[in-house]
């Protein structure tokens, strides 16, 4: 048995050791660093299954005022580690594009493989944070390392533009977060979520000031999870960022945002205005994300709008305060999004990121085409895939809570989703290929993509393991 904070310390030490090694060993093939990072994170992933229990938040003292180890946080630590490992595998495939962005002796790959480790540590801290100070600091660790990653291939003007947009809008959301926390502190005199709940339960607290603070915090978290009307940055940043980083933003950053949202909303669930506000945001997000995705011709941009649409479905679960449905959806989302991006990284190196570049992929590489097919039908929500069950649990929770408007709009927008996801499938299987070229896939990517396909179908047929892991 090990205590939980050791996991994050392990990840941070791993990152520093690899960074040091990179600084002094200049002659090696930089991909060794990525393999070392993957191996190290895999060891930490195994270690997460042997975490010792900790005192409950009610009688917590010292460090445990800031940091908790409940099953939600341990589950999401595993989630963050798995995401980072998959992103590193994609980064190895993406290495030639990074190298071409750095002319000269220094190829920048060492940092490209190391920064995600620190992001991962930030995500792991974030899902355990139960104090606003700790939430702020770990959220910033994630955000600042993403600034670096998003604008990493800086010789590409589009990437730099995405980096600047992400920098300004993220920093803006941080300012809202801090100002919101200041107001919540002003009302309750506490920064710990448990104590805030206790303070809000007393009738003498000022409701309107609490609501102001909470709305400001909600604006900031809306930026992180890409909810309408705070989604402006998403399409541009997703399209401009290096593709593995886009996948990381789309899964890691969003999942962490939702965990924080679930934790932060709990003390404020007693305010009736919160519920109405969240329903409104969820409706807008569903409609905007799905409709804006329809005319897209660039696959990365399409996946960006689809990511906004999925935020809408996840928000339905948040409105119902059903954390199990949200978590299951996030797991399904991790599998299918990584699957799509892993194929996109490989195909984009050969041809491009447009949907037209996927024409005839079934002839050029049947394996990649099948992987993309599973990713797309799962994102659309076809039965016997993880995406279908994710949507099913969300809608089931909404029906139990009698959120009829959300269910109706949700089901209509799912139909919308079928159109734009199957557009990609149509290009791969029914369009003639412009040129027949064999696309080579490295063994590691082949294993990762194969495992993701298997997991997507397995969870769609037999979701019990995840449901059990959440009940434990």
């Amino acid at each position: 048995m090990i205590t939980a904070p050791l996991l994050e310390v392990g990840v941070l030490v791993l990152g520093m050791v690899i960074l040091m090694f990179e600084a002094f060993a200049t002659k090696i093939d930089k991909r060794i660093l990525a393999f070392a990072a993957i191996a190290g994170l895999a060891i930490v992933l195994v270690a997460t299954f042997f975490v010792a229990p900790v005192p409950s938040p009610n009688q917590a003292t010292g460090f445990w005022n800031f940091y908790t180890v409940d099953r939600l946080s341990v589950f999401f630590k595993q989630f963050a580690l798995l995401t980072t490992i998959l992103v590193l595998i994609m980064m190895i495939d993406y290495a030639p594009a990074v190298r071409s962005s750095f002319p000269g002796a220094h190829d920048g790959l060492g940092e490209f493989f190391t920064v995600p480790i620190f992001t991962c540590a930030g995500l792991m801290y974030l899902v355990s944070a139960i104090d606003f100070i700790f939430i702020f600091v770990s959220l910033e660790l994630v955000t600042i390392s993403f600034y670096v990653l998003v604008s990493f291939t800086r010789k590409n003007p589009v990437t730099l533009e995405a980096g600047v947009k992400y920098l300004v809008l993220s920093a803006l959301s941080t300012a809202f977060l801090v100002y919101g926390i200041a107001w919540i502190f002003g009302v309750t005199g506490q920064t710990n979520l448990q104590r805030i709940t206790e303070a809000l339960a007393t009738p003498s607290t000022d409701q309107s000031a609490t609501l102001l603070g909470m709305v400001l915090v909600l604006v900031a978290l809306g930026f992180k999870i890409a909810a309408v009307p705070f989604q402006i940055w998403v399409p541009d940043v997703y399209q401009g960022a290096p593709t593995p980083v886009t996948a990381y933003l789309s899964v890691g950053s969003k999942a962490a945002g939702f965990v924080v949202l679930l934790r932060v909303l709990r003390p404020f669930a007693t305010l009736p205005q919160m519920q109405r506000l969240l329903v409104l945001i969820a409706l807008l997000t569903l409609i905007y994300g799905n409709l804006a995705a329809l005319p897209q011709g660039n696959l990365k941009r399409l996946l960006a709008y689809s990511s906004i649409a999925h935020t809408g479905y996840l928000l339905i679960g948040v409105v119902c305060l059903d954390s199990n449905a949200v978590v299951f959806y996030l797991v399904a989302y991790l599998l299918m999004t990584h699957l799509s991006f892993a194929v996109l990284v490989i195909v984009a190196q050969q041809t491009g990121e447009q949907i037209a570049d996927f024409d005839g992929l079934a002839k050029r590489s049947p394996f990649l085409a099948f992987a993309m097919l599973i990713g797309m039908v799962s994102l659309a929500g076809v039965p016997f895939t993880a995406g279908f069950l994710g949507k099913f649990f969300i809608f089931y929770a909404a029906i139990l809570q009698r959120q009829i408007a959300l269910v109706v709009i949700g089901v209509i927008t799912v139909g919308c989703g079928f159109y734009y996801y199957l557009k990609v499938v149509r290009a791969m299987y029914w369009q003639p290929a412009a040129k027949i070229d064999n696309i080579s896939v490295s063994t590691l990517s082949r294993i990762a993509i194969g495992a993701l396909i298997a997991a997507t179908i397995w969870l769609g047929v037999y979701p019990q393991p995840i449901l059990d892991a959440l009940k434990r």
């Binding site: 730099l160 533009e161 600047v164 947009k165 300012a175 100002y179 926390i181 002003g186 005199g189």
Partner: protein, 106 residues
């Protein structure tokens, strides 16, 4: 006598000025400065709330003041990375005007 309300009004005005700067100005350096102003507005409210919420022992609530130190540190890190990105942008485009960075469109 300066009350808590006065501090909060000043902090609200600072936050509004910062937000207006981010929304209306076109120079990225000015936008970064406005972002710092917004963070400092939050710092001012935190310190004011801390100072005016005195415990029975006569001590202010220091939680918020510790938080302010974290905010200052993080803001410094953010500016360090942000300015590096702006320098890279200036080298590539010879501009820091947001009107000129509009290649990504719907």
């Amino acid at each position: 006598m300066i009350t808590l309300g006065d501090y909060l009004i000043v902090s609200g005005i600072l936050f509004a000025i910062g937000f207006a700067g981010v929304m209306l100005r076109r120079n990225l350096i000015i936008i970064l400065m406005s972002l710092e102003l917004m963070l400092n507005a939050a710092n001012l409210s935190l310190v004011a709330f801390s100072r005016f919420r005195v415990s029975p022992a006569g001590l202010p609530n220091y939680n918020a003041q510790v938080f302010v130190f974290f905010i200052i540190t993080v803001a410094a890190a953010e500016v360090a990375v942000g300015l590096a990105i702006l320098v890279a942008l200036f080298r590539a485009r010879q501009t820091t005007d947001v009107k000129d960075i509009s290649e990504l469109k719907f």
